[in-house]
Symmetry: C2
Subunit: 212 residues, 2 copies
């Protein structure tokens, strides 16, 4: 029934699967020209649909971006989780480092997606339980590993877990953000950023474990 001449498909009135197509096209544009260059109307245009159509499925631009953020965040969570699994048998602090590595590699490989996720003025983080759960998931594994490390006596005893979690988050987030915010023009030769950033992370983790 859906006979479509390969050229000039007759453009059915009902798209059939607009939501997915809108998300796909949004990601396409974001990767092409950055988040701030994204417009609802171009999304509609590329999806081959009228300017008002997307608003049937997403109440606002930030609702669209929130949906994109949820997908992206899931990929981040997966990347982090995989990175940790690869060293599942090693010491807690090594696994903690792997989390950071996964996070940083993903952020450097997907800078615009990382921007969508982290800048909570573009998206509606507060109203997305999904995003909050995904965010907590990462934090939770950090707590676990740090607790383990402390129990093993690999951490200075005077620092509590919450404090250390914050430290790790801040450090990794800081590195990622500095790259994304373009604070590294200094040594921004392709690929070098990752090397520098990962070495920096390693130094940080090492300094954590120095027993005072």
């Amino acid at each position: 029934m859906t006979d479509e001449p390969a050229t000039e498909r007759p453009k059915p009135y009902h798209h059939g699967n607009l939501v997915d197509e809108l998300l796909r096209v949004t990601v396409e544009i974001i990767e092409e020209k950055g988040v701030d260059q994204l417009s609802m109307r171009e999304v509609a245009r590329r999806a081959g649909v009228s300017p008002g159509a997307p608003f049937q499925h997403f109440a606002s631009k930030s609702a669209l971006l929130t949906a994109v953020a949820e997908q992206a965040m899931q990929r981040l969570v997966d990347a982090v989780s995989e990175a940790q699994d690869e060293v599942a048998t090693e010491a807690p602090l090594r696994r903690l480092e792997a989390i950071g590595q996964g996070y940083l590699r993903w952020a450097l490989a997907n800078p615009t997606h990382f921007e969508v996720i982290s800048s909570r003025k573009l998206i509606d983080f507060a109203s997305s339980l999904t995003l909050q759960a995904q965010n907590d998931a990462i934090r939770h594994s950090m707590v676990e590993l740090l607790t383990l490390a402390k129990a093993n006596g690999n951490l200075p005893s005077e620092r509590d877990i919450q404090e250390l979690v914050l430290a790790c988050r801040a450090y990794v987030y800081g590195l990622a953000r500095m790259v994304v915010d373009d604070h590294f023009r200094e040594w921004q030769i392709t690929g070098e950023a990752e090397t520098v950033v990962l070495r920096s992370l390693n130094g940080f983790i090492t300094s954590l474990s120095r027993t005072g």
Copy 2:
């Protein structure tokens, strides 16, 4: 000559000092509703001038924001510099911490200004020698202090200065950004953020000085 009836000043055709007024008004709006809510036209409106007038002095919106950023950055540099001067007689690492404290306090007290400064997609950082010089100034004092600390034997010898500078920048920037990006809804009771963030900074500086 400039007789102005206190009520209904006759609104001279030539503003006299539009540039300063535009900057003032821009800051006003930014502090009131955030950077992303800033529009050239409202700037013009508040300055009591036609929508096209601002473009005589600032070629684009990002040029306006760049000018604002230069002013803000100068205040950041001053704040950091003062914070350091207050502990000028103390140990290098203590002075380094003071830089971080000055930076963080300023960022927390001026979140939207910090956003303008750091997000280099809003401003035209590359074309502002002023901004680059201001940025380098802070980095330079960090290099100095770390060099001093290393000479004093207060740092693990296997880590080089550039690596440590990056670590400090990332940590402080990460903390500041997380607050500004609203990643701290968890304990965002007013004032508490500063306490937590400064304690975290202290922990970081301390961990730097642990000799391995």
